[in-house]
Amino acid sequence: MRRAVLIAVPYVWLLALFLIPFAVVFKISLSDIALAIPPYTPTAKDGIWAMLSQLDFENFVFLTEDDLYWKAYLSSLQIAFISTVLTLLVGYPMAYAMARAPEQWRATLLMLVILPFWTSFLIRVYAWVGILSGEGFLNQFLLWIGIIDAPLTILNTNTAVYIGIVYTYLPFMILPIYSALDRLDGSLIEAAEDLGCSRLKAFWLVTIPLSRNGIIAGCFLVFIPALGEFVIPSLLGGSGTLMIGKVLFEEFFSNRDWPVASAVAVILLLILIIPIVLFQRNEQRQAEAEQ
């Protein structure tokens, strides 16, 4: 009995917070747009049978007919991928330095990484508008030290979006890598060095593979939300920044086309879920093979 309850808990969680909302979105994606509250038809008011018989895949067909959507998906994948790599490049050395720092400092360093979360996400992104704009702090500083003659245009470009994503998601990269490195047994590196590895080689052959799980977790935590990101591209990006989050917003708010917006969301989810499931399966197989 107790076991059944224990097993049921994650499933109830999954059902309530993922499957039911997904079913609702999926159902709307098969509906038609209507001028009503809510703005689609059929709804539950029409009866179950009418509701089911009127559903079709028209909206998904529509998405394939217009290249806007594919361009937006591809451009989001590209932006999410590049930002994940950048976040890893910035985050790994920080996590490494934290894990190597004297014991009594680590709690403070960890605190400093988490500290930005005490301020609202929106305000932090908005602060970057002030930093990156033509008359912003960054340009003023660069002009002052004489590196540039004219202000750089960073705000309202993809560069600003990368800066925003790397800044915002950095803690999500640092924390899992730090926790992997923190557990790393220092004697393994000593052993590698005793056996003739240079420090660099020991880092490459011992430290990186042993922190692999932290790297993977960090990359997922950055890549997945970055793919659907809306706030950062709309505040920092320009009108030319094409991301699926912005397309979703347009479908929902400008077109008030909930069915097409839902279809866009369903496909975004599939893009995310299929590789993750494949990856996990692969991992499991490897783990079993090792045993």
Partner: protein
Amino acid sequence: MKKMMLSTVAIVALTGAAMADEVRVYNWSDYIDEELLTKFEEETGLKLIYDVFDSNEVLETKMLAGSSGYDVVVPSGTFLQRQISAGAFQKLDTSKLSNAGNLWDVVEARTAQYDPDNAYSINYMWGTTGIGVNVGKVQEILGADAPMGSLDLIFDPANMEKLQACGVHFLDAPTEMIPAALKYIGEDPDSHDPDVLAKAEPIMSAVRPYVQKFHNSEYINALANGDICVAFGWSGDILQARDRAAEAENGVEVAYNAPSEGALMWFDQMAIPVDAPNPEGAHMFLNFILDAQNMAQASNYVYYANGNIASQEFLVEDVIGDPAIYPDAATLENLYTTTPYPARVQRTVTRMWTKVKSGT
């Protein structure tokens, strides 16, 4: 158990009471003298919760999702018309609007095309969409005879290319920009024909590279501070920028012109959502706004004309005497109105707008 039930009842009663004491208003940003909000609270003893938006689209999404929780909202004419047909609003109870006699028949005749018999809404403000310029900068770039009152200024790529360095903002509202582009090439600005609408795209795409930003409210400050030199925006917002620049004495002179080719005339209407938690309080708010002196105070503050004839005697000369706000007969002749796009056309329009803005 009994005690628990009692406290539950008490909590329900309390929240119920709180609802009846509150009025939630959702209005455009920079659109009222905030002293009026405190005055309303003092006069009625109701607590006023005042939120703002800056695009009709955002408001419409909230209305069509239902249960917005607002008692009074302020959509523009075409959006109001569509939301009425979606069943989003309740009919006004005129017995609770003792000040309704203050309304101006000239405006009512026009708003009736969106809301027949004005059964669902009262006019709050109305205005035109036109060109705001930083006079000094534009003349410095384009010469003393710069076409500051013509759509040539914003749709002729030769002018825009020169102006881009000092900054140009457009409204992020296809329902405002497309009619203007159509008017520029001599087409019917209210056309719903996809082939005619398609003609607006090359006009806008040709000047797109020179537009710094598409936004519905940032241009007020940007114009006033001298960060940009041209904005295609709403009359009162640009006049507010003019006023702020004059107050700041920063050497920026802002002017508003309704395009000589013809300008879009729009109406912002106050209406009560069908599921408003406090319709009683909503009517009290509408009646408060309909009061001649209150309405005049709002107009004197935001530089928009209103639909309240009785308020005109309390308007300052800067407002009632300014043809950019209260147009003379000749200008009035040159104004046009638009009607809502059907759903399929709306899709074409939004798609075109995305294409113009993002280049894809």
